[in-house]
């Protein structure tokens, strides 16, 4: 059977290496690997997305390519959200430094989760969040992470159909399953 994602897969191999580097935080990578994000932003974003869909027996958001999904969106159809991300990720790091003395990505997972809950409910220092509303930024981040993790791999996320395998959707995802005649 033809793989309906054949084209998407070539794309995926190309970007696979980049996202793998992001998850291995701290690795120096080739410059310009991202379309819209800066290297440091991608690192912060990967850490935040991994708290929204954490890795466990199944891949987490970063491993499944959610950062790549968001990067593609910010360079494409959702260019208008680039600035919200820039400001939001910067504010997230400011808050992390103010409260814990380290950038967000360097904090322990539990601390990151707690911090994101504060952002979600806008319980943050207003001085760190100038020009960007914390709850709105976080809602957007959750929306995009869900799309990137549970949506179609052709958009750069859900690598290897990780989430579809996790929830138990038979592979390939699109096919007629029943070939018996209608009941008479």
């Amino acid at each position: 059977m033809d793989d309906p994602y054949a084209v998407g897969r070539r794309d995926f191999l190309k970007v696979g290496a980049t996202a793998a580097a992001v998850t291995a935080v701290g690795c120096a990578g080739a410059p310009g690997r991202w379309r819209a994000l800066g290297e440091a932003e991608a690192k912060t974003l990967a850490a935040a997305c991994d708290r929204i869909v954490p890795p466990d027996a199944d891949p987490g958001a970063a491993q499944a390519g959610v950062v790549d999904f968001i990067d593609r969106q910010l360079a494409g159809g959702q260019r208008d959200r680039r600035e919200i991300y820039r400001q939001g990720l910067e504010a997230l790091n400011k808050t992390a430094r103010r409260r814990h003395g380290a950038p967000f990505a360097d904090l322990a997972p539990d601390v990151q989760t707690e911090l994101l809950q504060e952002v979600e409910h806008a319980r943050v220092d207003a001085a760190d969040w100038v020009g960007v509303e914390p709850a709105a930024f976080f809602a957007l981040l959750v929306d995009h992470t869900m799309m990137g993790f549970y949506g179609d791999p052709r958009h750069g996320g859900n690598r290897g159909r990780a989430s579809w395998k996790m929830v138990g959707l038979p592979d390939p995802p699109i096919r007629g399953r029943l070939h018996e005649p209608a009941k008479s």
Partner: protein, 551 residues
């Protein structure tokens, strides 16, 4: 420069316009069918779960174009903002040849006799504009049958004791039962309800030169790659073209209906696929753009004799916008309910459409079409966080162990739920865009919440371990079931078109789509739009005397 004159120009090729074009062309009238969207082929359907008419997180697949067609939405606090087709507030309807019928779920409901007599059945509902239709179920019955047979419906409604009388069974048998069906049917029977095989505009057996449904699970919101889903694009429009009396001009955006000094329409002005302004002269103009766009076109067609737009002498055009309040319940189970078999919706009850104590109406309930994982991600029960480990655990545990039961509430129409022309914002062609404003009647919310509670009972009886309701909100209703903006009625002072769908004060302009629905039934409206289009176009043909209408 004007194009050659034709007998009829039909604006919009969806459930209404596709039928009208075919009936007129087969009767020998020359027809131009203008459609603002493009043709789609079954072979190009990509089943993108983020770009479709069901979940438009990243856009819509079947139009309208995201950049070229803004609208203005006014929220309940009076704040206005520009919205795009991918956003719910836009009340998007697909824009392509076949309109919404290319990507709909295809539920093929007849309204019930009471649905045409809501005012007589329930009296006045304070704050609303509830009214009877000027026609009844008996007027519609032969045309429901025509729609079922000519477009193609499967299912078995014989076990539904609440349905209106019908002369013939549905033309195709129901599809074989899914696991959800097997779980829900006995539960409904135990509750004393009357479940039956829901009617669908989908081939359950090969028919009309096209294959039977392959039971692909991602169906509603997408086109059908096998062509088994029956819309006007693969039934009525090809038939119209086969007469050689009809041409379809896709990517044609109509600007206005042109009217002469005698008060008769002379044709329409439209922008063609290269954005060039064209004039299509015609003896008859039929507006079938859906409830939001049809009202817009009438409002845009201003002239000396019609300074407020066509049919708008008494300010009724664009008012009473109503879709459906969609409520229901989610049930989580401890065993698999998912069998990967589409199209999904297969079992329904009509027990709660009418006769609900203290309520002016109700609606049908059915199991939901198969959910996309991205949709399910937002369907968490109360107490489950929307992100983090607990959310991921929920997805992993319950995606295959879940049933949703939902249904459309027949709404109480509201005078202030409306579309107007926005005074400032223009579309790609420089045409004023729609401005949507208003709310939902409090009683519609009450009825919707009653339905949600009934859906929850059904799921509990079916063995769900966790049941939670999807209740109604106060926001403006419209969306894909949009209706009501050009009400049909006998009195020109309180309606826009007469019982034959002719605009009251202009004898050669018709509105034939859900705009004319006085009320919108507690059912998906597609089959009613089609049946009424058969009825109204047959009336046009009866009155046709070559070059114009009799009388």
């Amino acid at each position: 420069m004007a194009l050659p004159r034709v007998n009829a120009v039909v604006v919009g090729s969806g459930a209404g316009g596709g039928v009208v074009a075919c009936v007129l062309a087969e009767a020998g009238l020359s027809v131009v069918l203008l459609e603002r969207g493009r043709w789609h082929s079954p072979f190009e359907e990509r089943k993108d779960d983020l770009v479709n008419q069901r979940n438009s997180s990243l856009g819509v697949a079947y139009g309208p174009d995201e950049e070229k067609n803004p609208r203005v939405f006014v929220d309940l606090e009076g704040h206005e903002r520009v919205v795009r087709p991918r956003q719910g507030e836009y009340s998007p309807n697909a824009a392509c040849v076949g309109g919404g019928t290319v990507s709909y779920g295809g539920q093929a409901w007849r309204f019930m006799p009471q649905d045409f007599r809501m005012r007589s059945t329930y009296g006045d509902v304070a704050g609303g504009t509830l009214e009877d239709w000027p026609i009844g179920y008996d007027d519609m019955e032969p045309y429901y049958e025509k729609a079922e047979y000519e477009i193609g419906v499967c299912g078995d409604v014989e076990a539904n004791p609440f349905k209106g009388p019908r002369r013939k069974p549905l033309p195709m048998p129901p599809m074989s039962p899914t696991r959800e069906y097997e779980i829900l049917k006995p539960a409904a029977l135990r509750l004393g309800l009357h479940p039956f095989d829901l009617p669908l505009l989908i081939n359950s057996v090969p028919r009309d030169g096209r294959s039977a449904c392959m039971r692909i699970r991602w169906c509603v919101g997408f086109g059908c790659e096998t062509g088994a889903k029956n819309g006007t694009h693969n039934t009525m429009i090809p038939r119209a073209l086969a007469t050689a009396h009809c041409v379809v001009r896709a990517r044609s955006v109509v600007k206005e209906v042109e009217v002469d000094e005698r008060g008769l329409a002379t044709g329409v002005a439209y922008f063609d696929e290269d954005d060039r302004l064209q004039v299509q002269p015609a003896d008859l103009v039929i507006v079938s753009g859906g409830a939001t766009e049809s009202a817009r076109l009438l409002l845009l067609s201003r002239s000396r004799l019609f300074p407020n737009g066509l049919g708008n002498r008494y300010d009724w055009v664009g008012r009473n916008l109503q879709g459906h309040t969609y409520t229901g319940a989610f049930g989580l189970f401890e065993q698999d309910t998912y069998d990967d078999v589409g199209p999904g919706a297969c079992i329904a009850i009509s027990d709660y459409n009418h006769g609900n104590k203290g309520l002016a109406g109700g609606g049908m309930l059915a199991n939901e079409f198969i959910r996309l994982p991205i949709q399910f991600a937002s369907w968490t029960p109360p107490g489950t966080p929307r992100w983090g480990q607990a959310h991921k655990d929920f997805m992993r545990r319950y995606y295959r162990r879940h049933i949703t039961v939902v249904g459309p509430t027949q709404e109480i129409p509201l005078w202030d739920a409306r579309v107007q022309l926005d005074p400032k914002v223009k579309d790609h062609w420089g045409i004023p865009v729609l401005r949507l404003s208003g709310s939902r009647h409090a009683h519609s919310i009450e009825i919707g919440n009653h339905q949600a509670a009934r859906a929850a009972e059904w799921l509990r009886e079916a063995g769900a371990s966790v049941v939670y309701e999807r209740r109604a909100g106060p926001g403006l209703s419209g969306h894909q079931h949009q209706a009501g903006t050009c009400r049909m009625g006998n009195d020109p002072k309180t309606s826009v078109v007469d019982r034959d769908c002719r605009v009251h004060d202009i004898p050669n302009v018709f509105v034939i789509d859900a705009s004319v629905h006085v009320t919108n039934g507690g059912f998906n409206p597609a089959l009613t739009i089609m049946a009424n289009a058969f009825r109204a176009s047959e009336q046009i043909v009866k009155n046709w005397k070559g070059g114009g209408l009799k009388g």
